[in-house]
Amino acid sequence: MKNNKFQYDPGRRTALKGIALGGAATMAGGVGSIISSCTSRKEPDRSKAAVGTGEMTYRVNPNTDDKVSILGYGCMRWPSVPGSDGVLDQEAVNELVDYALAHGVNYFDTSPAYCRGQSEQVTGNALARHPRDSYFIATKLSNFAPQTWSREKSMEMYNNSFKYLQTDYIDYLLLHAIGQGGMENFNSRYIDNGMLDFLVDEREAGRIRNLGFSYHGDIEVFDTMLKWHDEGRIHWDFVQIQMNYVDWLHAKEINERNTNGEYLYNELAKRGIPAVIMEPLLGGRLASMPENLTSMLKNARPDDSIASWAFRYAGTPEGILTVLSGMTYKDHLRDNLATYSPLAPISADEDALLQKVATMMLSYPIVQCNDCKYCMPCPHGLDIPGILLHYNKMVNQGDIVTSVDDPNYAHARREFLVGMDRKVPKLRQAAHCTDCKECNKHCPQSIDIPAELMRIDAYAEALRRGEVSV
């Protein structure tokens, strides 16, 4: 089997050949001890997380020999100035970037679409304060909207990335979220306007060091891209996929339009294409989960955060170049640094435990929202992720009831209704969904958002009315 050193089969894997600089494949003592929700919008946990005592684990990109930190900084969830209606807080971002660089993180992944279009500029400002060779920049051609499909508009987006990121080369450039809208959409975005050819030329010219794509949705597009790679039509230097211990085997159970992480990763591994991992935490759902699942993990490693399991899982296969985490608060960053300095790979026993947790998770009525905000802004003003996340939180707390006879009814009702009013203003709540389905076009998890919103609204309405069966 060609390139079988990349083949990842956790069930049969016996030992791990670490490419890590730190070399050590054992977990150093005193590692992180908080449950930090890496993506949730709640206030950061103030407890101290011990930053790993060892050195960051690094992986080497076979194309350019880049030594990339296993923890990559996802720049889609930067903190905003409190009370500013989403204006990013440059000072706070600078601090996070400085701290990350100082602790060995060197991969920063942004996009022209992130944070309402502010991410590239803010990330660029923070990084430009450091030597250009101390970090790798990944950004994307995020021309999703039909109005940006023209060559001019796409070029403008590409050129702006250089301007905003204050650089004359981009280390990793991705075609952003291909697969949504199938091959038709892909052709409109990259083939018909000649953008893909242009980007290949740019790679020749050295302005792009690695060219790849990030993938969600229709598997036909993923397979076609790899076919082109095999045929020599285009060489992909890396590919960004969604992978975590739930998606590894159960992606189809969450949504049949999704593809298991196992397939995606192995397809890349057998071609020797390094994989960048997104959604290692499933948008925070693997950082806070129902109580019995939490205790299963805490039983195994009492001092490790719940999130650390997901990060260790995502970082374990050797064909993984880096694992992205959108860290809003320093606590998230510290916890992840602890997890990855150095990485303690998931053992076969632990893998079995995680698969058990994954299977059990699927029995909860959790909405598979990752809080990526691709659906936002909703044209009718709803706070879609806010609604879905509050619902999920109630599921995790065990505060979803089915009858007024439930002894927990009064408490659950109050938690749900008061909590919803607190998190989401009344006019942005689920009752206002017009079923226009605009959001569904953008959801990388292929959630039928209006259907979920209506389900949650009907539940809330039954609670308000105090109906016997909810």
């Binding site: 802004p377 003003g381 009013d421 226009c436």
Partner: protein
């Protein structure tokens, strides 16, 4: 001893009644709702025989206990009177008043105007609601709702903020419609006038302007019990007279004007010789006032005139017309992730026929009973009831679905109304009562225009009166599905406003409710 008892009871009454107004959880209605129903004028309007008989009997037997214990406006004046004492030199604090003859002319003229207004109210609702400006219970109601409640809510919201930081749901944030608009100005002005009067002149308001005071005064003039002189003990020191905030004790003639005595027991408490006691009146004959004082008569009527004038002024500036802009906004294309689309607040035109809550029976029944006390406005948890600003229904609550709708599980306004304007109903009754009718305006409806499948109105209609029906043949909407539009079954529509409130078209909804002048039952 009697005074202590009076003070304790009075404090309990005013605190509990205020609690009834400021409470937003609805939990005060059961234990405290009767206190509003025990008020005299609401009892008259709602023809509450039990309350009326008890109050008249109480007054006839014991004097105007009502005015010193039950009436919140009276008790509030005692508080202001106490503050008023502070401005006086300490030694003189307890000797601020002196006997004044009854201002009989003013009392009865004001009362006659009030009575005429109330009777005229049967023909024009405005007459009654304007008279309510001097009706003591509703005056206090407006003060509690529009001055005290906003402060209470603000305090609650501070606690809610703290609870939020601690991830607790013990306190939650509330918003309310009180504390703004003409009703608040009326409340502030009456608070100022009554407060200032009490500050300098004790119970002058109760004994010259207040129509309930005048009416009960007629009864208490002949009451069985009262304060009386023990002429064998009285030294004529006038201590009782100087302490009487009703200015009704004439020591020189050893007489008490029982029509003005509010049985506060300040006199019995202050007499050093035990010459003032409370018991069966020795002399059942009414005390005649020495002479009507004309000079101060003008003073009081001027005050009344000013109240009216100020109220008219604030009401007439309050209303501003808004243009109808009911068109669908073009949707902006999404290019980046995150953020929120702006939401235009609702501002629907007023319905042709004002909508009044279930239990009101008809617009006419509602308008002829309401004293505009704002208790229902404070009690409404859905921000539906708002005080009207138009002159003929001034400050009377009206339903308006811009901020919320009349939720099917709530009957709080019907539970609290003491005046019979909104009669008590159950949640089950409510599911049958139709207070209005929804109408669809096709040209702005998202579904009819093919912008979205929508169906929000149909989904949220508590009586399932709205269905989404295909129309327009082969035409399809943005989602490729056949066009559908909401259709209202008028025989099932309750007029609750869920459709109007939740309609995504803003500021003017594509489905709106008009009131029914007489409520009907459906089904």
């Amino acid at each position: 001893m009697l005074k202590k008892l009076r003070v304790v009871l009075a404090v309990i009454f005013i605190v509990c009644l205020t609690a009834l107004f400021v409470d937003f959880t609805g939990s005060a209605i059961d234990p405290l709702g009767w206190m509003a129903k025990a008020q005299f004028w609401p009892a008259v309007l709602s023809f509450n025989i039990i309350s009326l008989v008890l109050l008249i009997l109480l007054t006839f037997v014991a004097g105007r206990i009502y005015c010193s214990v039950i009436c919140p406006l009276g008790v509030m004046q005692d508080a202001f009177n106490r503050f008023g004492a502070l401005r006086v030199r300490k030694a003189a604090r307890k000797f601020r008043f002196a006997y004044q003859p009854e201002k009989k002319l003013v009392r009865y003229i004001v009362f006659v105007i009030f009575a005429i207004g109330m009777i005229a109210g049967a023909f024009w609702a405005g007459a009654r609601v304007w008279m309510a400006l001097i009706e003591p219970y509703s005056m206090y109601g407006r003060i509690a709702a529009d001055v005290v409640k906003p402060v209470y809510d603000a305090g609650n919201n501070v606690l809610a903020g703290i609870a939020e930081i601690n991830d607790s749901t013990l306190f939650y944030r509330v918003t309310s419609v009180v504390g703004s608009g003409p009703a608040m100005w009326v409340a502030l002005i009456s608070l100022f006038i009554v407060g200032a009067t009490a500050f300098v002149a004790g119970r002058a308001w109760c004994n010259t302007i207040c129509p309930v005071g005048t009416l009960l005064g007629v009864i208490s003039r002949f009451s069985i019990f009262g304060v009386r002189f023990d002429e064998s003990k009285c030294t004529g020191c006038r201590k009782c007279e100087r302490n009487c905030k009703a200015k009704c004790i004439d020591v020189k003639n050893r007489k008490v004007d029982y029509s003005r005595c509010v049985t506060c027991f300040n006199c019995t408490e202050s007499c050093s010789f035990g010459a003032m006691t409370y018991g069966i009146r020795r002399n059942i004959q009414a005390t005649e006032p020495a002479e009507p004082a004309k000079a101060s008569c003008d003073d009081a009527s001027r005050r009344g005139f000013m109240t009216g004038l100020a109220a008219i002024a604030t009401a007439s500036v309050a209303k501003a017309a808004d243009a109808l802009t009911d068109s669908i906004k073009p949707r902006e294309e999404k290019t980046t992730d995150g953020g929120f689309a702006d939401i235009t607040p609702k501002h629907n035109p007023e319905p042709e026929q004002p909508i009044v809550p279930p239990g009101a029976i008809s617009w006419r029944n509602f308008a002829t009973h309401c004293t505009a006390c704002q208790l229902c406005v404070s009690a409404c948890p859905n921000e539906v009831l708002k005080p009207s600003t138009s002159l003929d229904t001034f400050m009377m609550p009206q339903m308006d679905f811009d901020l919320g709708y009349c939720r099917p599980e709530c009957v709080r306004c019907s539970e609290v109304c003491p005046a019979g304007a909104i009669r008590p109903i159950t949640v089950a009754d409510k599911s049958d009562i139709s207070v209005g009718m929804a109408r669809v305006y096709m040209h702005s409806c998202l579904a009819a225009q093919g912008e979205a499948a929508c169906g929000i109105c149909a989904r949220h209609c508590p009586s399932h009166a709205i269905t989404m029906m295909p129309f327009g043949g082969d035409r399809v909407g943005n989602d490729g599905l056949p066009l559908r539009r909401p259709v209202v079954d008028e025989s099932r529509c309750l007029g609750c406003g869920a459709c109007e409130n939740l309609c995504p078209v803003s500021p003017v909804s594509a489905i709106r409710v008009d009131g029914r002048d007489a409520h009907t039952t459906i089904g």
